[in-house]
Chain length 426, copies 2
């Protein structure tokens, strides 16, 4: 294994610093490079100011093997990346006829003419390789300097991401700077808090302290864990073994290696069982249905959903008996189960999932905000679960959806044989 | 007006660089400080490595008046912020009995005991003011050094954000470093692309070039614009006037000053009219309903929604005639309007909004992915609109929801008097 290389990202743009836009490149490229064993060691956001870009480039070149710069390649007067990098490297800027042709072809294909501004994007650092941009006019640039690699990429993710996948990664692979083999092992857990996950896994890591780097990251409802190799530490095979022991220790709370998507897993499982699914939701207000329909091809399994925000809708459309709501309340296990059963019948689905609760800021008379009941209907029977979830309204909605998906996943897994037998009996 | 100060954010944590977590502090604090006329000039993400933190702190102190550091204040072995800042500033670390008492009280209130690790959080830079943390054990710290201010804050947003609001901002106000008065004017536009907004506004800015800084930021379906003051440029009153002229030039596409939430605006307007709303959605699969139910108090206006993902659900539950779907297709203006009318009837609402379309990756036989039809039902009548939206599946869902909300907003605005008269006639 060669010396691990250091990568660094500089993202250019006022909008990243004044709250108008999140730096999505950092998360996207950071995750991608971490998986390929070339982790980002440093991230920087700089404004569209030449006086700040030049020193930032100098500092990055001092620290990193690979310096990726995003943004500032546009055609307008506040795009300085090429000029500033030229100054930092002491190189000339040249005019590329080849880029000019591409820009003109790009506009021609769209039945338009380039403006004078667009020709600014023909300026290239001398000695740079051009990274083609099929989705825009700003070309990327690959520059080598004293063993360092500098890469300039356009800001829009729709342009930048394909350029990384199609051009940057293959080039880095060729140099031996990235590799799929020596990356970290990562897995996703669900239904446990970060401290609980750490407590369960702690005994497994005691003997390997300093031989593997463990990182936890809690999201709303799940926790991601990464086991990173360290120099002179565990081998790749040993880290994989350790991952397997974590999987055993976590049992049902281990969702999968990588960052599996729960709604996608569930749809895939129901599809393999040949079953369909419907939902009914109150406090999550459509978010649960939306999560399923984010998955391409969901229509093969997902029949539909009802957002029954008002009790009248629960009664008149779903057909939950008014007496049940009167006796137990709309936020109750009984109502959640009745909603699930009614949704399955109404939308002709084998399985149904229902959520009712208080998203906040207000709760019920004796019930705090964040209290939700989950209802589950399947060929094998019905179940309910109560959860009290922390956070504000949107966090409660998000956590309730994750809890409901997890509830559904565990029940399908546990009862799939019973479900199958029940279906055969009909 | 005193010299404008420069602020800088350093966010500590491996998870920010390896794709596990977005740097939400950057967006949140960046937006907040930009509004208070103390814009972030630089952002940095650093790993939990002492050898990288010390030089990063040195560089930030060279550049900025205010240096905010988030994260690395936890009780575990990879939390180095206090020690590294002590080294960068050449200060001692002292043990604070006052913090010890607070930590013990924090655990006592929760019926628990602090672990040995927690006492690490009693370490304070000598001369630092403590910023109380009501939601956690790590105190914040405020340090003054040669006219610079350094602020250390814990990483979890739920702890960090109230500390900024309750303690940091008042302290900065007292020093005259932040002000509500001299901040930028910002407004949100909807339904136009970034280049179209720029084209419409360009004539207004020609005379004031160099006297005001204009920033555009496009999101899925809307564009935010900021007019920033520059030194020696337009006065605050002149910038506000310019904002008013932009508002006139944009007409209906001007959504409002600040960053108004469209679903919130609509619910407020319907509430003031005493009207209710229901939705029916196909390709957006619940996202439209979820957007309304994100708003606290939505239940006063929003009655419910149906996610009719399959045609059977459109027919059997909503009651869209099968013959209509056969003749025009489920993705058609006719179907969108029929869905809206059926949703209004079924869920007993005055207004209804419906979306049907192809979210992708697949489209219809002669219809590209991204094609959506919006249907609108109101006391004054029914309308439909077609849109062809770019992007992948989740982008199309997001854009379709924004387009539908904007369609609804414009129609309500235009016909609210007719709607009112129609309602009175019944």
């Amino acid at each position: 294994m060669t010396r691990p290389r250091k990568a660094e990202l500089l993202a250019i743009g006022d909008e990243l610093l004044n709250g108008l836009r999140a730096n999505s490149h950092l998360t996207w490229l950071g995750g991608l490079l971490a998986d390929k064993n070339l982790p980002l060691h440093w991230g920087t956001e700089i404004r569209d100011e030449a006086s700040e870009m030049v020193p930032a480039f100098h500092q990055a070149l001092d620290r990193a093997d690979l310096v990726v710069v995003t943004g500032g390649l546009g055609p307008t007067s506040d795009d300085f990346t090429v000029d500033c990098m030229a100054e930092a490297l002491g190189r000339e800027v040249t005019y590329s006829k080849k880029v000019e042709e591409k820009i003109e072809a790009f506009f021609r294909a769209r039945g338009r003419e380039p403006t004078q501004n667009n020709y600014k994007q023909c300026h290239i650092l001398s000695g740079a390789d051009i990274i083609p941009n099929p989705n825009g006019t700003a070309p990327g640039q690959w520059i080598e300097e004293n063993g360092h690699v500098i890469v300039l990429l356009p800001g829009p993710p729709m342009e930048m991401q394909p350029m990384v996948q199609n051009d940057l990664l293959p080039r880095l692979e060729e140099r031996g700077w990235v590799s799929d083999k020596e990356g970290p092992v990562r897995f996703r857990t669900i239904g446990l808090g970060e401290s609980k996950v750490a407590e369960l896994l702690h005994p497994l890591f005691e003997k390997t302290a300093d031989k593997v780097r463990v990182a936890y990251c809690a999201h709303l409802g799940y926790v991601d864990v990464r086991l990173h190799p360290v120099e002179g530490g565990l081998t790749e095979a040993q880290i994989r073994q350790l991952g397997e022991r974590c999987r055993e220790a976590l049992g049902e709370s281990f969702l999968g290696y990588g960052t599996p998507d729960l709604s996608c897993l569930i749809l895939r499982q129901l599809r393999s069982l040949g079953k369909s699914l419907a939902v009914a939701e109150s406090c999550t207000g459509g978010l649960l249905a939306s999560r399923f329909t984010d998955v391409a091809g969901a229509s093969k399994v997902f029949t539909g959903g009802l957002v029954c925000y008002r009790n009248e809708v629960k009664e008149n459309i779903l057909g939950v008996p008014g007496s049940l709501i009167e006796q137990h309340g709309a936020v109750s296990a009984e109502c959640a189960v009745a909603m699930a059963t009614a949704a399955a019948e109404m939308m002709e689905a084998d399985y149904a999932l229902a959520i009712t609760g208080y998203a906040g800021p207000e709760g019920g008379r004796d019930t705090p905000a964040g209290t939700v009941y989950l209802g589950y209907h399947s060929p094998a029977g019905v179940w309910s679960r109560k959860a009290v979830l922390p956070g504000n309204r949107t966090a409660v909605k998000e956590r309730a959806v994750t809890a409901a998906l997890d509830f559904l996943r565990r029940k399908i897994e546990k009862y799939k044989m019973v479900d199958l037998l029940e279906s055969l009996r009909c």
